[in-house]
Symmetry: C2
Subunit: 231 residues, 2 copies
Amino acid sequence: MTIAIVGGTGPEGSGLALRFARSGEAVIIGSRDAQRAAESAAELNKQVDGGTGVPAGAISGAENRAACESAEIVILTVPFAAHAETLKHIKPALRPGQILVDTTVPLAASIGGRATRTLGVWQGSAAEEAAELVPDGVTAVAAFHNTSAEVLQGDSPVDCDVIVCSDDKEAAKRVRNLARKIPGVRTLDGGKLENARIVEQITALLIGFNIRHKGHSGLRITGLPPTAYEL
Amino acid sequence: MTIAIVGGTGPEGSGLALRFARSGEAVIIGSRDAQRAAESAAELNKQVDGGTGVPAGAISGAENRAACESAEIVILTVPFAAHAETLKHIKPALRPGQILVDTTVPLAASIGGRATRTLGVWQGSAAEEAAELVPDGVTAVAAFHNTSAEVLQGDSPVDCDVIVCSDDKEAAKRVRNLARKIPGVRTLDGGKLENARIVEQITALLIGFNIRHKGHSGLRITGLPPTAYEL
């Protein structure tokens, strides 16, 4: 499977690239600047082994739109200020059958406000905005909002549940199947894409904890049967 | 300490009453109907021991407004449809120095919609609405949104972190101190009262998990130092 990470030179994108490459997937880091993408990919390739000893997938770099062309799954990890613009830019490269995974949180920090507050998005959430901006046949899935970029960039298991929201249950399962490859991650069906409204907001709360306590917080859902985490 | 639980005959209020009585606090169950409050209190008193062997506080019952008169902490556990009306009703009994703990989630179910969706509240959250409706000198604190009523009503430890939001740090500490008395509960400083917007919404997400998986979900925050849970 080939995974494109649009805005993949940022901390969340780099962390996901590293983890997916370690699980054997081919990853293309996307950036507005192809040269920067290539440099970031070269740097990340050096860290892929991470002591796992598992044959790793390779990380390559490309301009954002080009990165999307050969990918089955496109993961969007840009700041919210660049969200709509980036989606419009990559749109010509997207085609039916692809999955667009939106990790974006509409933090007020993206327009100079606080990272502990969010902006109202007309569609309800960044993920629902994304669903409106992709071509017909491309499925929007919301995931990875609450996984700490710092933890993803490290070598330790990720002590966080990934809540996946989509109106397409099969696409959600494919993304859950991908997320489960990150050591430590459990995944949950978060229901319809509209529930991304809540999952996105949680990140602002976690950022508040991080600021107050100098941590890299995540969350675990308790009280559910083990089958909730199975596909 | 005396704790009044307004709307305390409901599942969340009964569960909190039971847990606080077990930790030795005096609890007054409030209801619109004094007779119903008394019956509920009598029923709960039978369950207080819960195998703990600890000398338990007594649970009594009173009409909602009367329940507030002698309490240091008033906990509001009414459905959102009764939220503003109940606050206006108890207002004459509230006095400076009291803490009003709002546990209310503005679920769409309160006006015939889904329990997995929330309503927009003009002030931002039910807790901020409560802050507007209490007399000067009464401090609003948001807490206990994510603790399952069914789990609270049982005898097992509560596998959930209680996120406490308030603009008054001392009041937040008092409520965290109370919440910590529930076995299993850890508490976190959720920051300002405005953050109740997020903590309230999380409940709708948890209800979705409960529906899909027949569980009684809660949440734990990960990745923070142990000091984050200390007072």
